[in-house]
């Protein structure tokens, strides 16, 4: 008999699916199954699991609800959500409340699903469990925490400033190049970003950032949301929170405090960031991103040459070097 790589809980209302998952995973893992969310939570209380695989669409308790509860009952277990046709609302709740590790589309590829489960099991077994989220947000410390807001619209930056006032350093960047420059010169704790700035897609930056600097916590605020794009942002960018615009200042405040707390936790607990390991991206993602940022930097040049801004180009270069290890 082989040594099992971990324990997995599968939750789905369809017995055929559970059987299939069982057959697929039982060789490498100890697999237990539950026909619905309530039974799943019961099992989570009784046993220690490394990975939870749940379907989204179930009668009674839907997948994202179940994962939210699972997050509280068994914070150590990594959460994987199987999705078919899901509504945006459920996806967002599973991100923001369930802190999902991966979304896997139905029908799945056996290879991909088992490797994802294996990865998750490995992380859960080797890395420390996150502390339960504090009830009240921690005080934000100006010396430690810097928040970068990447959005064309100054309103959001204003909102952020308003919600956490003088407690943190807030930098507003209106372009990716500017953001890169800031990232190069400052130690950023949290990045608050839209999915698009001007014509530029910011998601590659967020993905690369998570891959290279997992301690930086990303919060995405956007008005246009597409289920596929959101799923990719989680799988490849481990975005901490995803919030549709417009956002209420009170909510923003709680969320930012939580993000800062997450950042500190990631800093102070070595290995914890492994829990937010991202899926491999297409090979040229980084290359394309660097090129895009450089092109944008060139466009910014005339402004950059103005007195007082002489160092901007240099700072962008520094940022690129720091982020990607290139000049």
């Amino acid at each position: 008999m082989r040594v099992k790589k971990g324990t997995v809980l599968c939750v789905d209302d369809e017995p055929n699916i559970l059987r299939s998952l069982h057959w697929m995973l039982h060789k490498d893992f100890d697999v237990m199954t539950a026909p619905d969310g309530h039974a799943g939570l019961e099992m989570l209380r009784k046993h220690d699991f490394d990975v939870i695989v749940s379907d989204q669409r179930m009668p009674g308790m839907i997948g994202s609800e179940f994962l939210r509860e699972a997050c509280k009952v068994a914070p150590r277990a990594m959460r994987i959500l199987l999705t078919g046709y899901s509504d945006m609302q459920a996806i967002l709740r599973s991100i923001n409340e369930g802190e999902v590790f991966r979304f896997v589309n139905k029908p799945w590829s056996n290879e991909e699903l088992s490797s994802t489960v294996a990865e998750a099991a490995a992380i859960a077994r080797t890395q420390p469990a996150p502390a339960a989220a504090p009830e009240a947000g921690p005080e934000i410390d100006e010396t430690l925490d810097s928040i970068l807001v990447l959005d064309e619209d100054p309103q959001l930056a204003g909102f952020v400033k308003q919600s956490i006032a003088s407690q943190a350093r807030i930098t507003h960047a209106t372009s990716m190049a500017e953001a890169v420059a800031v990232l190069g010169s400052e130690s950023v704790a949290v990045i608050v970003s839209d999915t698009r700035v001007g014509r530029m897609d910011t998601t590659p930056l967020l993905k690369v950032l998570k891959q290279r600097h997992p301690a930086i916590v990303a919060v995405v605020l956007t008005a246009d949301s597409d289920v596929d794009a959101v799923i990719k942002l989680i799988n490849q960018g481990q975005v901490y929170r995803f919030v549709p615009k417009p956002v209420k200042p009170a909510f923003l405040k709680i969320m930012l405090a939580s993000a800062v707390h997450k950042h500190r936790e990631l800093r102070s607990t070595p290995g914890l960031e492994r829990r937010h390991a991202v899926q491999a991206m297409p090979a040229d993602t980084e290359e394309k991103l660097v090129r895009a940022v450089q092109e944008e930097a060139m466009r910014l040049k005339p402004q950059a040459q103005a007195p007082g801004n002489a160092s901007v180009l240099g700072r962008i270069g520094g940022g690129l070097k720091k982020l990607f290890g290139i000049g």
Binding site: E14, W23, Y85
Partner: protein, 597 residues
């Protein structure tokens, strides 16, 4: 029945315009006749004024004439009195006064048949005898001659003298001598000192110079006073000829009358002209008003025609929009259905795919053991004894691999394939139901097993509605129903979807069928919130929706109602707040004629 705007407008306005024209013509006519009347009245008034004026003028002239002549007669009397009275008449009259008259006066008057009192013949004879006595007086002849001599070739035609008793003492007409005039008004007045004149026309008159004819005579009774006193001693009566003067007066009057007639004629002429002008004017006014009315009608007609065109176009546009909306409503429910079906397909697809890929992997793992088994079998077949010795030295590694490989046993693989087959069956069932639902490959109208159709719809609906809502089917035995199954599927899918949407949390949608009299009844009940009272009357209204803009077209239930109506059926609902709603569809077993076509 379509409202024919242009036609109704034309009829109404032409009728109205005609009425206005008639009223106008009537008023114009009235006005013309009023003006005519007014002119006639004016002419009549002028006539009256002129006639009055002419009369006054004539009367005035006559009065003046009489007054003038009276004055002349008075003067004449004075002259005569001066000339004749003292010397000739006074002694004569004094003598006459001596003659007795009382015996004549004593003879009573008789009453004539006409009521007047006249003197009887013997009384007249008595007075005539008196006259003869007077004429027999010796001074008579000389006096008479003197009077004739004096009066010849004057305008005085006759002279009479009365004594203070009223007896005619002298008359140039001798037959009158002796007449009693004591009751004559002229004589009585003269006796009191006043002059009384009278104008009269005589056909024949005995004048000094013989008998004259056709004369206007002025007779005046004139008092004769005793010289130097106011005592009347006798009365003269003088007849003077007024004919030429009167002729003059008459002539003037005739001239005035002619002038008046001329004026009247002129006025009548002017009135006629005026009336003509007025009539012309009113004709012209009517023509203008008529033309304006015609113009107004044409303008309104053009506007109304244009409006009618726009209304027709808008109606067409609305119809098009409606069809488009109905189409989009159909597409929306179709989209919802497709999404549900896709999800429904996804589950068997997911596990079938996973199972098959596992079986495939397992089959790869079976390759080696199969080869080993085959090799062993062949070796065994070649061996005649019961024991076979195999040298495993060369293949130990492979055998170890087989031993270590944790491949699933054939039973598990068979289970996997069994599940897969089940999954494929599920997909097949779904596809079958889809086909039954759409019925694109069937006749439009058919003898339809409604329960089967309801089951298909319930099956499809289950995939589209949330899992928290259960769909329960309770079918009674039904006869085949003649209908358009595809349309009825749409009806029931819509009702079930609506029912599911009315349930906020967990709940049940129940689909029941039963025979009720000649008809088939299908109930779709939910355990939802019920329909708010204020919404109830409007739910079958086209475009009415309680969903946010952009989500509901407001055509779902109207389309349901129209399909049911086309089948000759009815749809009703009962609802209780917080308890749920039941929609009941009643369908005849046989289609009514028009819908069957």
């Amino acid at each position: 029945m379509r409202f024919r705007l242009v036609r109704y407008f034309t009829l109404a306005s032409v009728g109205m315009f005609a009425a206005v024209a008639i009223a106008l013509a009537y008023f114009e006519r009235q006005q013309a006749s009023f003006i005519g009347d007014m002119q006639r009245q004016e002419i009549g008034f002028v006539k009256q004024v002129q006639a009055a004026f002419a009369r006054q003028q004539e009367e005035g002239s006559l009065r003046d004439l009489v007054a003038t002549h009276e004055a002349g007669n008075i003067t004449l009397t004075r002259v005569v009195a001066n000339m004749l009275w003292d010397r000739d008449f006074a002694p004569f009259v004094a003598k006459v006064a001596l003659l007795p008259v009382d015996h004549c006066r004593a003879i009573a008057d008789v009453t004539a048949p006409d009521g007047r009192k006249t003197a009887p013949p013997e009384k007249k004879a008595c007075f005539a005898e008196l006259g003869a006595k007077i004429q027999a007086l010796p001074e008579f002849k000389a006096l008479d001659a003197k009077v004739f001599d004096t009066m010849k070739r004057t305008t005085v035609f006759k002279v009479k003298a009365f004594d203070v008793r009223g007896i005619t003492a002298y008359s140039s007409e001798h037959s009158q001598i002796g007449d009693d005039k004591s009751s004559n008004g002229g004589w009585l007045g003269a006796m009191k000192g006043t002059v009384k004149s009278d104008l009269s026309r005589r056909d024949k008159f005995n004048a000094f110079e013989g008998v004259v004819e056709n004369r206007d005579l002025l007779s005046s009774y004139l008092p004769v006073y005793a010289f130097g006193t106011d005592t009347v001693v006798g009365v003269f009566e003088v007849y003077s000829d007024m004919t030429p003067m009167l002729a003059q007066v008459k002539d003037t009057s005739a001239k005035i009358a002619a002038a008046a007639r001329g004026n009247e004629a002129k006025m009548e002429q002017v009135a006629a002209v005026n009336l003509d002008v007025v009539e012309n004017l009113s004709l012209r006014a009517m023509a203008i008003v008529g033309a304006l009315l015609a113009l107004l009608f044409v303008a309104l007609f053009v506007i109304v025609r244009r409006a009618d065109g726009i209304i027709v176009q808008q109606a067409r546009q609305r119809e098009q929009d409606h069809q488009q909306l109905a189409q989009s409503e159909k597409m929306a429910s179709l989209g919802q259905m497709v999404a549900g079906v896709a999800h429904q397909l996804n589950t068997p697809l997911a596990f079938s795919r996973s199972n098959i890929s596992m079986v495939q992997d397992a089959l790869k793992g079976y390759e080696l053991p199969l080869k080993v088994a085959q090799a062993f079998a062949r070796t065994a077949a070649r061996t005649e004894g019961d024991t076979v010795s195999v040298n495993v030295a060369a293949n130990r590694e492979k055998l170890e691999q087989i031993a270590e490989d944790g491949i699933d046993d054939v039973g598990t693989l068979s289970q996997m394939l069994g599940d897969t087959l089940q999954g494929i069956d599920q997909m097949h069932e779904l596809v079958e139901n889809l086909r039954d639902f759409t019925r694109l490959d069937r006749a439009k109208t058919a003898q339809f097993d409604l329960n089967k159709g309801l089951h298909t719809v319930a099956y499809i609906a289950r995939s589209a509605i949330p899992n928290r809502v259960k769909v329960v089917e309770e079918y009674g035995s039904l006869p085949l129903v003649e209908c358009n199954p595809s349309q009825l599927n749409q009806v029931f899918l819509n009702l079930i979807n609506n029912a599911a949407q009315a349930i906020p949390g967990e709940g049940t949608v129940t689909v029941r069928s039963a025979v009720e009299g000649e008809r088939v009844r299908v109930d779709v009940s939910d355990t939802g919130t019920g329909i708010p009272t204020e919404v109830q009357p409007r739910i079958f209204e086209t475009y009415f929706t309680t969903k946010p803009a952009g989500e509901g077209t407001g055509l779902g239930l109207p389309i349901v109602k129209s399909i049911v109506a086309e089948h000759g059926g009815d749809i009703t609902f009962t609802t209780r707040q917080g308890a749920g709603t039941t929609f009941s569809v009643f369908l005849p077993v046989v289609l009514p004629e028009p819908a069957a076509a």
